[in-house]
């Protein structure tokens, strides 16, 4: 019987330790490390992974939770297999972002912050994603979709598994 991997498998710990060398104080590697840990855990940060990360940094886990809570991109609850971030800020709003959001909510039965029933994606209505000249836009995980129409949204989201 194989031993189940802990919250931080060895290769991940090695990658985090390699980050420490970039800074005079290891604490500075916390944000890059949390990105790696979150990726390892399917897009969110489970309790035991937070505790193990805090141990690695020699910090109380409350301290690490305080940092996590400040940043929009870290999740402390399970998310869908993909994360869909739709920009809602003024430049995108002027190009129809409200309609894009309403379309996604109605068509896929999901609200801002919620996950589709089949676990396919989590919808996040985001503040400015920095693609103001090509709005409305959304990020699906690390891929961007610009100049969105309802049809373009369906093509992108329909392709997700």
């Amino acid at each position: 019987m194989s031993v189940p991997p802990g919250p931080l498998p060895r290769p991940l710990v090695e990658r985090i330790e390699a980050l420490f060398a970039r800074y005079p104080y290891r604490r500075a590697a916390l944000l890059p490390a949390l990105h790696l840990v979150q990726k390892e855990h399917g897009g969110w940060l489970p309790d035991d992974a937070i505790r193990a990360t805090a141990d690695l940094f020699g910090l109380p886990d409350q301290e690490v939770r305080g940092v996590i809570g400040f940043y929009e991109m870290f999740h402390t609850h399970p998310v869908g297999r993909h994360v869909v971030r739709v920009c809602k800020t003024l430049p995108c709003k002027l190009r129809g972002a409200d309609g894009i959001l309403r379309h996604i909510e109605a068509r896929y039965g999901v609200e801002n912050g919620g996950t589709t029933g089949d676990g396919r994606f989590t919808l996040e209505c985001f503040e400015c994603l920095g693609h103001c000249s090509t709005g409305p836009m959304m990020l699906v995980d690390d891929e961007r979709h610009e100049n969105l129409t309802a049809e373009a949204v369906d093509r992108a989201l329909g392709a997700l598994r």
Binding site: R22, P24, Y25, R27, A28, A29, L30, L31, P32, L34, H35, F57, G66, V67, F70, Y71, E72, M73, F74, R85, K88, T89, L90, P91, K93, L94, R95, F126, E127, C128, L129, G130, H131, C132, S133, T134, G135, L139, D142, R144
Partner: protein, 414 residues
């Protein structure tokens, strides 16, 4: 800066060098750091992140006698609504920024440079990492750069989604591994920044400019644009225009109306322009009758707004100023870091009042309350995020009073 932006090969070191890249770095390393700083000072370059501070002067604030290590941080946390220009440099021509950063590091005596890229820019993060790796492999980053005694490490540091981290002291707090809380100034980062060591924080576009200034000389740079706003600058146009996009233009050579009507083709809706925010959403709005202003830092300041980060947001007469102001208030109340009470509480008050007005539940006294709350936020916080909400909201109240009165009348008639 955008001369080679449409060539996909420009991202590679080979192509960048074939186009003359990294000659400016060689030139800089053959001079003293003071000479390099002086060149940038004489060019008249002002920071492209929003505040418009003279770059050379900022570098001079680094104490020469300090025994502490010195750091350079590249502010690539481009988050100001309407601004999407630094991304173009990072994704299309990243080496010109890396070269500028190395020149800046040499000028201030920094041995390490951190490129803080916002987490919502995965493409920029990848492009910068690839470019820095390539530069390192070629001996342009690391120990003994170009065979000289100058050494500088460079790393990409990803943010994780917080507008406030674009404020330079918040960026430092975040880079140190904490919550992105702004710090009181003074001490300024140049004296006490990252890990309490002298630190310069420069914007991506600013550093790309440095490369060109050192390559072709301060006089050449200053011959473009106008006094007070030298050189070329990237402008991002968004909203209700026919040709939105990122434009590289000389400052002061045209008016805002020319840019919007001639270059951008007017509105995409066929309706008249109602207003325009010329410097991102953090500064005052201009009405359609105020667009004949010359497009440079000083002229826009005189017109009661700002060139800010170069993000120009345009809207036509189909949208109420109340709805625009509400969208802006939602942004800033969401992004307030929560340290200072006037901003944390005030921004949410402003948002709630605007929700009432926009949904036809607002009253005349809400307008007075908006003025009252915004006046109490102005100048009472550590960083300028509160003003970034207060100034635009007050400007909408002042410039589009009819929209707010109509919102109040909707309740009266209901």
């Amino acid at each position: 800066m955008l001369a080679h932006a449409d060539d996909p090969a420009q991202r590679t070191l080979a192509k960048y060098r074939a186009n003359g890249g990294y000659r400016a770095l060689g030139k800089a390393l053959s001079r003293t750091p003071e000479q390099v700083t002086d060149e940038v000072l004489r060019s008249g370059l002002r920071g492209r992140g929003g505040a418009g501070f003279p770059t050379g002067k900022k570098w001079q604030f680094v104490p020469k006698d300090s025994k502490k290590p010195k750091y350079l941080c590249v502010n690539a946390d481009e988050s100001e609504p309407g601004t999407c220009k630094d991304r173009q440099i990072m994704e299309r021509d990243p080496h010109q920024m890396i070269e500028g950063a190395l020149i800046a590091a040499y000028a201030i005596g920094a041995g390490a440079c951190y490129v803080y890229v916002r987490g919502e820019y995965p493409h920029s993060i990848r492009a910068m990492e690839e470019a820095i790796d390539e530069a390192r492999a070629a001996g342009l980053v690391g120990k003994g750069i170009l065979g000289t005694k100058f050494s500088c490490e460079m790393w990409v540091h990803p943010g994780a989604g917080a507008y406030i981290c674009g404020e330079e002291t918040a960026l430092l707090s975040s880079l140190e591994g904490g919550r992105g809380y702004p710090r009181l100034k003074p001490p300024f980062p140049a004296v006490e920044g990252l890990w309490r060591c002298p630190t310069i924080v420069n914007n991506v576009e600013t550093l790309a400019c440095v490369t060109h200034i050192v390559a072709r000389g301060a006089e050449w740079w200053a011959s473009m644009g106008c006094s007070g706003s030298t050189g070329t600058r990237l402008f991002c146009v968004s909203g209700h225009v026919k040709r939105p996009g990122v434009y590289e233009l000389e400052c002061g050579k045209f008016t805002l109306r020319q840019l919007l009507e001639e270059f951008c083709g007017g509105t995409n809706t066929g309706r008249p322009i109602k207003g325009c925010m010329p410097g991102g959403s953090s500064f005052q709005v201009l009405r359609a009758d105020e667009l004949d202003v010359r497009f440079d830092v000083d002229a826009l300041a005189k017109a009661g707004s700002s060139l800010g980060s170069g993000g120009i947001i345009v809207f036509d007469d189909s949208i109420s100023a109340v709805d625009v102001a509400l969208n802006i208030a939602e942004f800033y109340s969401h992004e307030s870091c929560g340290q200072c009470t006037p901003c944390r509480e005030g921004s949410d008050w402003v948002r709630k009042i605007l929700v009432r007005l926009a949904s036809g539940r607002g009253s005349k006294s809400d307008l007075d309350l908006l003025w009252d709350v915004t006046r109490k936020m102005d100048g009472t916080t550590i960083c300028p995020l509160a003003e970034a909400l207060v100034w635009p909201v007050q400007s909408y109240l002042e410039k589009f009073p009819a929209d707010f009165e109509a919102a109040v009348a909707r309740r009266a008639s209901a």
